[in-house]
């Protein structure tokens, strides 16, 4: 269980995250929505400490992660895998090695310097790639893959970290609708089958509605909405996205997911939101 207690983070004059308190139960799939600059990204980066700690506590299973350092911090980062908008793979390495990078949080420095991984780790990487339908591409260089494939490699890398938690920072913002759907379905499947908590930033409402159990809306660093997709009314949407002198947000304009994907566990909700 992950708990944020009065977390605040400022960059100079700008307060990116303002007094945020949240609880995440194990196994949830949570979507965080909001305008660019609302603090969604910073919030995720505070959790895995890619951003330096601000004030407030972030507690995971009794451990305050804001004060971790050295080996303990590396282990925590391994335990809460991150998936990035731009995939953040090492382009010039092959796909298999990119996935094996997910193991380095548990390995010593010397074997990693020689890119030496155990047979067990290699097998785990192959299985993870197979699960994401990418085993045929395992020996190709990462930059020869399409964006959607690269993001799935990044998810395989996350799986190799044996995470309790996956943080996804705009995982589909750089993808076309079809690949966006594949990536969201992969995250949802992992969430349901492996019981891994997934917290994902999304800039589209329909993706959040279609795949998440719970939606958190952020505006100006504050949490302004926290509830189920059904509770997300147009008045709430207005509060999350709208500005005083702007007209109502048209939900169809923020759509990136093709409404054709009715299969899978998320299908029911997705049909409800098709417009």
């Amino acid at each position: 269980m992950l708990e944020l207690r009065k977390v605040t983070k400022a960059f100079g004059e700008t307060i990116a995250v303002n007094n945020v308190s949240l609880r995440f139960e194990p196994g949830q799939m949570v979507g965080i929505i909001g305008r660019s600059g609302a603090g969604k990204s910073t919030l995720l980066r505070l959790i895995n400490r890619l951003a330096s700690s601000g004030s407030g506590d972030i507690v995971f299973e009794g451990t305050n992660v804001t004060t971790l350092s050295g080996k303990a911090l590396r282990e925590w980062r391994a335990r809460c895998a991150m998936v990035f908008q731009q995939f953040n793979l090492v382009n010039r390495l092959d796909v298999l090695t990119n996935v094996l990078i997910g193991r380095i949080g548990y390995l010593g420095t010397l074997p990693v310097m020689f890119k030496h991984f155990s047979t067990v780790d290699r097998a785990a990487a192959a299985l993870a790639l197979d699960r994401l339908d990418l085993l045929p591409q395992a020996l190709q260089r990462a930059d020869t893959l399409s964006g959607g494939q690269q993001q799935r490699v990044a998810i395989a890398r996350a799986l190799l970290q044996n995470p309790k938690l996956i943080l996804a920072d705009e995982p589909i913002a750089s993808l076309d609708p079809r690949n966006a759907r594949l990536v969201m379905e992969a995250l949802r499947t992992i969430n349901l089958q492996d019981k891994i908590t997934v917290i994902t930033n999304l800039h589209t409402l329909d993706a959040a509605r279609a795949y998440c159990d719970r939606i958190i809306g952020m505006a100006h660093g504050h949490v302004v909405f926290d509830g189920t997709p059904d509770q997300l009314t147009s008045a709430m949407i207005q509060q999350i996205y709208g500005d005083a002198n702007e007209t109502a947000v048209d939900e169809s304009l923020t759509s990136t997911i093709a409404a054709t994907g009715a299969e899978g566990p998320a299908g029911k909700r997705q049909l409800e939101t098709a417009h």
Binding site: R74, R77, L89, V90, I101, I104, T109, V112
Partner: protein
Amino acid sequence: MSTLTHTNGRLTSTTREERLLSFNARYRQQQFTRRNWTLLYGALFLAALSGSVAVSDFSIPGLIKGLPMAWNYIAGTLPTLTLENFWADLANWYWGLRFWLRLLVETILMGFVGTVLGGGVALLLCFPASRNLVENTGIYFAARRSLEFLRTVPELVFALIFVFAFGLGPFAGVLAIAVHTAGSLGKLFAEVNENVDPRPIEGVRAAGGNWPMLMRLGVVPQALPNYASYLLLRFEINVRGASALGIVGAGGIGQELYVAIRQFEYTDISAIMLLLIATTSIIDITCETIRHRLIGQDMQAGH
């Protein structure tokens, strides 16, 4: 004229004429400033150039008077080769070929070992000397300054010191080359590092990597083709450098060339010079071909 203003939702109340006039004024102002800067830099450059000419005694008449003498010297070193007795003349000219070739190989190996040793040190020092890879400015500062020290002292000076410390011979030369190479390659490697994409590094950090792992998996794969290219370039330079180190007794063919010059063995000078020119050209061409391949096509397999 300004009927468009309300249709495109502009909030300002200025007319188009006013906006264009304001733009025109700003444009002229920018042009004026740019021209003044160009003139200022031009004047500074001319002042520096004329100052340097005055200090270094450079003079066109002196150049014209001296050039034929330089040519006479070079012409004097050339042997007389006759057509009817060509092979015998050639053998006579290159009487010391076996000995010279051995020295030439020694020179190339000095350059090679010096490049490898210096490259190794450069690889270790380049990461702390990259601004984007270290948070501690003290470490960055120390790494940068030590690289500077290594490369600002000329090879010949280091060679003199090492000959004094380790005695005559190629060992001193190799060390001198390695020290200078570490300094200059370290700086070039660090500049390569500063241009890598930060996203893979962040990916490795988020997977739980420590600093050496970030360097090995996030930085090195991206920078490797450029490292290799600079290493080859440095090898070319070091073979040339190694051929001069013999002058201070630090091994290589330079020693033999120096003896020939001092003892007025004119044909020996041209023989050795030609060997040197041919060797360095071959190394240059080979390295350049490999470098273009590394940079141009990018390497197929990752490392």
